[in-house]
Subunit: 294 residues, 2 copies
Amino acid sequence: MHTVLSSGTKEITIGHDQPFCLIGERINPTGRRIFQEQLRAGDLSAIERDVAAQVAGGATVLDVNMGVPLTDEPELLKKAIKLIQSLTDLPICIDSSVVEALEAGLSVYEGRALVNSITAEDDRMAEILPMVKHYGAAVVALPNDHDEIPMEADKRLVLTKKILDTAVDTYGLAVEDIVIDPLAMPIGADPNIVNVAYETIARIREAFGVNMTLGASNISFGMPGRHTINATFLPMAMAVGLTSAIMDTRTPQIVEAVKAADLLLGHDEWGSTWISMFRAKQAAEKLAVEAPAP
Amino acid sequence: MHTVLSSGTKEITIGHDQPFCLIGERINPTGRRIFQEQLRAGDLSAIERDVAAQVAGGATVLDVNMGVPLTDEPELLKKAIKLIQSLTDLPICIDSSVVEALEAGLSVYEGRALVNSITAEDDRMAEILPMVKHYGAAVVALPNDHDEIPMEADKRLVLTKKILDTAVDTYGLAVEDIVIDPLAMPIGADPNIVNVAYETIARIREAFGVNMTLGASNISFGMPGRHTINATFLPMAMAVGLTSAIMDTRTPQIVEAVKAADLLLGHDEWGSTWISMFRAKQAAEKLAVEAPAP
């Protein structure tokens, strides 16, 4: 099953037979105090650096969240999307908890965006899915409802089925345009919590065959060696069926692990991407060694 | 299902609910010309360094192979095992294609060894399994027969069932003392070849619940960035059910990936092993920085 995203000039396909889709997480003011202040003052220049770093790092889609308290989020999100689309041809994942912001973002976006996100809650689906359909976008869906996040894979499967049925039967979306978030939580919270995510991924793949994405960085929250944990988590999730993640695309250790997993899963035939990545890395290292001291 | 190995004083349990079993691959003359010459001259001193490096790196079992052309392999293997058991309390995996060498190794070994290996060939099973039973050892079994290595998971499952049935019904072994090698081959040979290994692992786990081990280093043969490929391969295999590997235990990147996978699979409760590994690493780095120049 293929989920196709696009910008004005570039198309990206997410699928179980495709290289992993790396959605850069960086353009998000959560936990970035200086960035929040800049955005509040109308200064979007940090976005230019974030785009450049993520494109260089290997992102294939960019998540954009403009959730800054005390701002006009819909207006800010419009500006950010226009700016980003002037800087790169990567498709965008429009990320907000505010329905009006999602609508504003979609209204200016050129191409097929990924909308982040809905849940299994009826009112949230009723507000957002008609808009996703209208703009011909795809959507990330979290299998949780008004109650807390379900801790058992069984319950997540039930809610996934509810979301897929509702999106397709009630709102006329194509099933391949629903990307399920199997819900990954920090391993520090409960030793079995990542196992539940792996089980959910494997079972959703088997039962529905849809694409999946998740926020991959908080898995290691509160632990030392976070890059290594994150670089290990993703290939394991890929082995059981994860096809995309909203992730750190600026840390080579993590991106390289994903590319190695692509190779091992047969999604990089004869290692052409892997080998050229290493050639580029070696060339850069050689250049750094040979460069005259400043 | 638990496979228990031991030395005179230490017990190791391999299982789907246990931390991964890291079998150090280093004590093996294949491809080590100098080591071969030393062994031929009766000089076993390199083994002392190999034991120390693998113990320091995090090995939980040590593979010992003394397959040097033009030597008395049974005698050499006996000497090596006695030496290693005087140096460490880690259990040993006795590795040889020569039946007499396996017998010689078992005859001097203190504890429950892992014998490496049998195949699904009737004559090989008839020669080795009674010996495994006699010495109370466990055994690694490869699901291939006289023909070439099967390239489909289906065939590997059939041969696995044959091995388990024969070992239990004909030779009286306990099923938990058979450790299946699902057969991992270099990704450079065929883009789908590692997928077949992952499928085999998942299906053997589901159908038989037995422990599995494999030689993990050749996966990356011929590719650049071999450590990263190997460090990515193992957690993916662990996610689908691999419980052990014969592997490089001297490269921190690879051992750390395995430990991170243990953490994520809930086999390192609250990260106590992970956190102490990082504390030790930081302490060593701090010491290195503070040490006066020689």
